[in-house]
């Protein structure tokens, strides 16, 4: 685990010792495969988010977890969480995120076995949870209202150059983001572009970020590619894609680091699920337009 660096050596030592003490006294209970099979229930941690998890508890990730529960021969249980608490609900520890660093600041109750909710693999998340193989491709785009003075970039064929072109346009622009998620502006250096940052309340549905910019609450918003594809068909002519702000990203299921067997079992299940063509059918049901950008990802 990478601890946030302190300026003084003594402070660093005191910090590490205190974290070690906190971790040592925490009631650690490994929620691995054996526990899931013994309890007879797979607890799926999720947040209503686009077509991954809809407000009525349906969606791509819900169907995927139902299939995984059937594969394990256990019941399925949906556990709703929020972007600020979902990792704590998985690992049973309270965390503090600073940039790409994360530190443990206390303990809490574990509420689920697996996160599957359009969950992007980020460097700081990799330090605290284990990720499965890729389940969905992603990336972050900047979306603006159609009448915004921001104009879309002309692609250069090199995404790094495209990202630079987008960032150059952001001085003085109000940009909506969400702290603690893949839409945190600091992850992509948006906070250093001169943009005026606004943060969306974490308890709100992220799907409302697009209506929020349409309602003039901000000039533009960060949004991940799968949601952007759905938004372009849901609000035709009201929004425009300015360009990318991140390199290509991947989404995956997340497991507590003390659940290696459960993660391994999921990887085996997911490989079979894709091979049988069932996963492609699910993606075609919830994200048909994703194949226009990633034609083969559901078969890989």
């Amino acid at each position: 685990m990478n601890i946030h660096p302190a300026p003084a050596r003594i402070q660093r030592i005191v910090c590490m010792v205190s974290i070690a003490l906190v971790v040592a006294v925490l009631p650690v209970s490994a929620e691995d495969l054996d526990t899931v099979l013994q309890s007879g229930t797979l607890k799926h941690l999720a947040i209503p988010y686009a077509n991954f998890v809809t407000p009525d508890k349906k969606g791509l990730d819900v169907d995927l977890m139902h299939a995984f529960a059937d594969y394990l021969g256990v019941r399925y249980a949906f556990v709703e969480s929020t972007w600020s608490t979902i990792i704590s609900d998985l690992i049973g520890k309270q965390i503090k995120v600073t940039g790409n660093n994360v530190s443990i600041i206390g303990s809490t109750k574990k509420k689920g076995h697996i996160i599957s909710t359009g969950f992007t693999i980020l460097p700081w998340r990799k330090k605290i949870v284990s990720f499965s193989r890729q389940t969905f491709p992603s990336g972050i785009w900047l979306i603006a209202r159609s009448d915004s003075r921001l104009t879309p970039i002309t692609p250069t064929g090199n995404i790094s150059n495209d990202i630079k072109m987008v960032k150059k346009k952001l001085a003085g622009v109000t940009v909506l983001g969400l702290q603690g998620s893949c839409l945190a502006p600091s992850l992509y250096g948006i906070d250093k572009t001169g943009a005026k940052l606004r943060f969306f309340p974490p308890e709100n549905d992220l799907e409302e970020m697009i209506p929020s910019i349409i309602a003039h609450n901000a000039d533009a918003t960060l949004i991940d590619v799968p949601v952007a594809l759905v938004a372009l068909t849901r609000w035709p002519g009201k929004i425009k894609v300015i360009g990318p702000v991140s390199q290509p990203q991947e989404m995956a299921c997340a497991f507590s680091q003390d659940s290696p067997k459960l993660k391994a079992k999921f990887d085996v299940f997911f490989q079979q699920f894709k091979k049988s063509g069932q996963y492609r059918k699910l993606v075609e049901k919830y994200y048909p337009s994703v194949f226009t950008y990633y034609p083969d990802f559901a078969d890989q």
Binding site: D147, P152, P211, I214, H216, T233, G237, S289, F291
Partner: protein, 763 residues
């Protein structure tokens, strides 16, 4: 040869009989000839009618295809693509999704438009303005053979309506409809729809009954055929027929030799399929229309009848048999004609019925759209929690473009929390759930595009449609009513508290006078200035000088001074409180120039010691924006006091911001509306919170530290303006931006009587 003998009676009888028989036979032959000619004419007309009906059916078919392709070109998907393109979006970042939506729409049309189980369309494509393919129907990601799509030479750049294009390729003839896509009244692309020629041929061109020799061709104006491969009857040397006039409706006869070398006569007719340059050409063997017997054969037969009377009888019988055959054919043909006529009538009725239904639908839609659009109430239509439609009134209310509202939720148009601190989103969800069962009526806060809050009254009711339940939301702006109610409550409260304060002041004034007078007497009677004090002290054996030393050392005088100071301060407060009880007659009113009063108040503030020393009033930047001058009938000193109070408060408030390096700015404006004078005094101080604004005019309400303010300055100002001058005073403030006081006074050189006063005077 004559023998010189008259024929005998029997011969005469025979001759007469034969002559009569001959006449009879001639009569029969003429009758036969006329019947045959009539039958041929009827068959020919039937043939032409048959072709004309078939051409009408084809016209209707192509008319529907025209509507299909026009609808696709005007569809939301294609329009959205060109909007996104116009906004500068690239295929890599976003446009690909629009093309996917168009492809989905194309596939849906191919699947839906069928005759029986056979598809009408083979393929669709969207071309850009350079006629290059942007997207075509089929499986996402798979592109067709693009060499087939070089349509540059086929597309007429000037056309605005769907055009039919026929071209030959290695697979045979292709029929395609092409229509331009318009965006901002400019042609930005083209939609091409390929028809399935086999479906068209099988349904419209295969003749019935199948035993007939009739064949149909679709041809162009130049006579070239467009029948699909494998369906061309191929019986004719087509090149010989190409010069046949394109618009002729009269059958043309021609003769060619068959496989056995025998000449065969044919009849051909051609009808245009409007509105395209497409023709339906029908060819039939002449004998199917005219029968087997030719005219020369009839002449030979007649001659044989004349010369061979007896044999003629035999031939007549034979001819009558043929006549019977033709009669049967005629009957059959007439029946077919009757059936086709009935079908044609039904088809016309169906077309008329559809046109009437479409017209009714259009009028109905227009009527309800206008009722909805121009309603005086703001109306929203929700599906679930999402807005799917709205009228102009709500857009005007929220200061948003009308087209920006659909797709949003009502929660997105509301502040995060309502007046009662409830979460707007949760509250709305509950209201919408309840509205599905029972209509809901409630008050609600909305937020406009510029952040202004609106008090509204909402009626929410569910409407059950075939496509699902929608919710109608009627919204009425009650902000002004709310503000009036608040003002009324505020005035009532002020009057009550003011009266109470005046009563209390009156009761406190007498004991306060006793305290002050007693304190003054104690000081006087302890002092050494009065001879009487020395006399009484000596008579009691006291040294007054030493007692003075004692009182000084024990700070008794200090305590007495405190009593006097506190008493005087209380007296000042009481004096101010008594102002509430005074009537309008307490101050003399006169006609005053409002700008003079403002300048006097500013001069007074500049010379005020406290403002000068403590708040550095001279450093405040004062800007004036005065309207044309007007007189106000008022009590000069009272109005000056009001202006001074507000200016002093502004100076004190801005002093709090001095450390932030902000230039202190005071703006004084007037506006003359004819019957009113509006005075606004604005500062750029720290502003006032909403809670403080509600109580700011209440007596004894102050945000200053204890001892620094009495909390009566603005209360007195309020009474002076509202009660003494029939005016109005309001405050508007935004924390962090500044505060504006607005005073409205009646204009005029004389006092305007209220309606009540006028009626009293008249009575």
């Amino acid at each position: 040869m004559s023998t010189g003998k008259h024929p005998g009676p029997s011969a005469r009888y025979i001759i007469t009989g034969s002559f009569l028989l001959l006449l009879y036979i001639i009569f029969l032959l003429v009758s036969y000839y006329r019947n045959t000619t009539a039958l041929q004419g009827a068959s020919l007309r039937q043939f032409q009618l048959d072709v004309a009906h078939k051409a009408s059916t084809l016209e209707y078919f192509f008319l529907e295809r025209k509507y299909d392709i026009r609808a696709l070109a005007d569809s939301l998907e294609i329009h959205t693509y060109f909007i996104n393109l116009n906004m500068g979006m690239s295929r890599q970042y976003g446009l690909q999704v629009s093309l996917f939506a168009i492809q989905k729409r194309m596939n849906s049309i191919i699947a839906d438009k069928t005759i029986g189980t056979r598809a009408i369309y083979k393929e669709f494509a969207l071309l850009d303005e350079n006629k290059q393919v942007l997207v075509s129907s089929g499986i996402p990601g798979q592109q067709r053979d693009t060499s087939r799509h070089s349509w540059k030479f086929s597309v007429n750049d000037g056309c605005k309506e769907p055009e039919l294009v026929i071209r030959r390729n290695r697979h045979g003839n292709e029929l395609a409809l092409i229509v331009p896509c318009l965006f901002k009244e400019k042609v930005v692309g083209w939609v091409v729809a390929w028809l399935q020629p086999a479906t068209l041929y099988d349904h419209f061109l295969v003749p019935t009954p199948s035993l007939s020799s009739k064949v149909f061709y679709l041809t162009l104006a130049d006579g070239s055929r467009v029948n699909p491969p494998g369906t061309d009857p191929g019986i004719l040397p087509w090149k010989k027929l190409q010069n046949f006039p394109a618009s002729s409706n009269h059958p043309r006869r021609f003769s060619i030799r068959d496989a056995q070398g025998q000449p065969q006569d044919y009849l051909m007719t051609r009808v245009q399929v409007h509105p395209f340059s497409l023709y339906l050409t029908a060819i039939v063997k002449a004998r199917e229309i005219e029968g087997n017997l030719k005219t020369w054969q009839f002449v030979v037969a007649a001659a044989a009848m004349i010369f061979l009377i007896l044999a003629g009888l035999f031939w007549a019988i034979r001819a009558n048999i043929k006549h019977l055959v033709l009669a049967v054919r005629f009957d059959e043909s007439r029946k077919q004609h009757h059936i086709l006529t009935e079908k044609n009538i039904l088809l016309k009725d169906e077309i008329n019925r559809r046109q009437r239904a479409e017209q009714y639908l259009l009028e109905n839609t227009e009527r309800y759209r206008k009722l909805f659009e121009f309603s005086s109430d703001a109306i929203l239509i929700l599906r679930g929690s999402t807005i799917i439609a709205c009228n102009k009134k709500i857009a005007k209310l929220l200061k948003l473009k009308q087209e920006m509202i659909p797709g949003l939720t009502l929660a997105a148009l509301s502040p995060e929390r309502q007046d009662d601190n409830n979460n707007s989103k949760k509250e709305l969800r509950q209201k919408i759930d309840r509205a599905l069962d029972t209509p809901q009526h409630f008050e609600w806060l909305l937020k406009t595009a510029d952040g202004t809050l609106l008090y509204t009254e909402i009626n929410m009711s569910a409407i059950l449609l075939k496509s699902g339940t929608i919710i109608q939301v009627l919204i009425r702006d009650i902000t002004e009513r709310k503000q009036t109610q608040e003002l009324l409550v505020q005035t009532e409260k002020m009057m009550a508290v003011g009266g109470l304060a005046a009563g209390m002041a009156h009761e406190i004034n007498n004991p306060l006078g006793v305290i002050l007078q007693a304190a003054q007497n104690i000081v006087r009677r302890l002092g050494t200035d009065l001879q009487k004090n020395h006399t009484i002290a000596e008579s009691l054996g006291m040294d007054l000088e030493r007692m003075q030393l004692y009182l000084d050392s024990r700070k008794v005088y200090s305590y007495l001074n405190s009593i006097q100071a506190a008493g005087e301060r209380a007296a000042k407060i009481v004096q101010t409180m008594l102002e509430f009880g005074r009537s309008n007659k307490t101050a003399e009113k006169e006609s005053c120039n409002i700008h003079t009063l403002l300048e006097d108040a500013l001069t007074l503030a500049a010379s005020d010691y406290d403002l000068k020393k403590t708040y550095d009033f001279k450093k405040i930047s004062i800007s004036r924006d005065y309207d044309i001058s007007d007189e106000v009938y008022c009590a000069r000193t009272e109005i000056e006091q009001v202006f001074f109070n507000i200016i002093k408060n502004a100076a004190q408030a801005m002093a709090a911001n001095k450390d932030a390096g902000k230039i202190q700015s005071l703006q004084v404006r007037t506006k003359n509306t004819g019957d009113k004078v509006i005075i606004t005094i604005s500062d750029n101080g720290p502003g006032i919170s909403a809670a403080t604004q509600k109580s700011i005019f209440e007596p004894f309400f102050t945000t200053k530290p204890v001892g620094e303010g009495t909390g009566l300055g603005l209360s007195v100002s309020y009474f002076i303006i509202t009660s003494h001058h029939n005016g109005r005073i309001t405050v508007d403030s935004r924390p962090g931006v500044g505060t504006t006081f607005t005073i409205t006074l009646p204009a005029g050189k004389e006092e305007k009587k209220t309606a009540e006063q006028t009626s009293m005077a008249e009575s």
